[in-house]
């Protein structure tokens, strides 16, 4: 991952570090790796989302370990230097700057929500559609619900999962959630 990190322009790297810090501080639910990757690619840099995800993971681990061990900025830079000697200068600069500004603020988490062993639900987007026609049926008029769930995986990175439901499936879906909510109330 170290050699891929040199591909990322400094300002995008800074943005990524910012998001990681905000996520570690529970200010945002997750890191928008996919969206960031797209913008980096649009700017002409050839990086794929797998590599960016690995870099985000590594940086996240770096910052959270540093937080838990209460590292000062100098200690962090020294650790970086001794571990991954091939980190490009501009990357070290960004990491040093971000840690200097925000490192102290990261509270070693006391929050119950931090024990992420499964994905955390972030948001839901939906669409109600009617399929009018297809190559098998000229006149369909088939209603369906499309849902996109934004989920933050255990490393904090946000991925989207989209799927469709028929109307009866949707009604069942809704009913299950209402049941869940009422159980949560009473528990």
């Amino acid at each position: 991952a170290a050699d891929k990190i040199r591909l990322i322009p400094q300002d995008f790297l800074a943005e990524l570090c910012e998001q990681i810090m905000q996520h570690l501080n529970h200010k945002i639910p997750g890191i928008n790796t996919a969206e960031l990757c797209q913008r980096i690619q649009t700017s002409g840099v050839d990086i794929n989302i797998g590599d960016l995800a690995k870099i985000a993971n590594t940086l996240s681990f770096l910052f959270s370990t540093a937080a838990r061990n209460n590292l000062s900025t100098e200690e962090l830079v020294t650790t970086l230097g001794s571990g991954v000697s091939t980190l490009p200068k501009h990357a070290v600069q960004v990491i040093r700057h971000v840690w200097n500004e925000q490192g102290k603020a990261i509270a070693v988490s006391e929050d119950a929500g931090n024990m992420a062993t499964v994905g955390q639900f972030v948001d839901m987007k939906w669409k109600l559609g009617v399929a009018m026609s297809s190559d098998t049926c000229r006149s369909l008029k088939y209603p369906y619900v499309t849902v996109t769930l934004k989920v933050a995986d255990p490393s904090g990175q946000i991925t989207d999962k989209s799927f469709e439901m028929t109307i009866p499936q949707f009604k069942n879906f809704f009913r299950q959630f209402k049941e869940m909510a009422s159980v949560l109330e009473t528990v």
Partner: protein, 156 residues
């Protein structure tokens, strides 16, 4: 063992043409959405054998809604939700917090990738998501709005 004769291959070819013709006919009926005998009868040429035409029409009519449902189920679509399991837990303690009582929901969605792409071996992936009370309420709100939209559309 019977020897293969030239006539056998001729017969096989005719059989293949027959199956292909039936397939085209039924697909056309499903595509046009015909559900009345007159529509289907009208497809056949004048010279076609009367009784055969009536028999075929009868059989097609009996099956057309099943075929239509199959066509709808296997059309291009996003991955489909096939199953939903859930569980409510209470987090009582962790390595960082000694005592707490935080209710949380674990949801497992089973999603089947596009049937048209997978053929006979659909790929089902499981997505496990945790929801807190707040995120569950967000979800419910969204779902409620879908339900309202559905009723509005149904009443038009």
């Amino acid at each position: 063992m019977a020897a293969l004769r030239d006539g056998d291959f001729g017969a096989l070819q005719i059989l293949l043409k027959l199956v292909s013709a039936l397939h085209n006919l039924t697909r056309h009926v499903v595509y046009r959405g015909f559900n009345r005998a007159e529509d289907i009868l009208g497809l056949f040429p004048e010279s076609f054998h009367q009784n055969l035409k009536n028999l075929l029409t009868k059989i097609i009519l009996e099956n057309v809604s099943t075929w239509r449902n199959e066509a709808q189920a296997s059309q291009i679509s996003l991955p489909q939700l096939v199953d939903l399991d859930w569980r409510v837990d209470i987090k009582t303690s962790s390595d960082s917090i000694a005592r707490m009582a935080v209710p949380t929901c674990l949801l497992q969605l089973k999603i089947q990738e596009d049937a048209a792409l997978c053929g006979n071996n659909p790929v089902v992936s499981a997505l496990t998501v945790e929801l807190s009370k707040e995120t569950l309420d967000t979800m419910l709100e969204g779902l409620g709005r879908i339900r309202d939209q559905l009723s509005a559309v149904a009443n038009k």
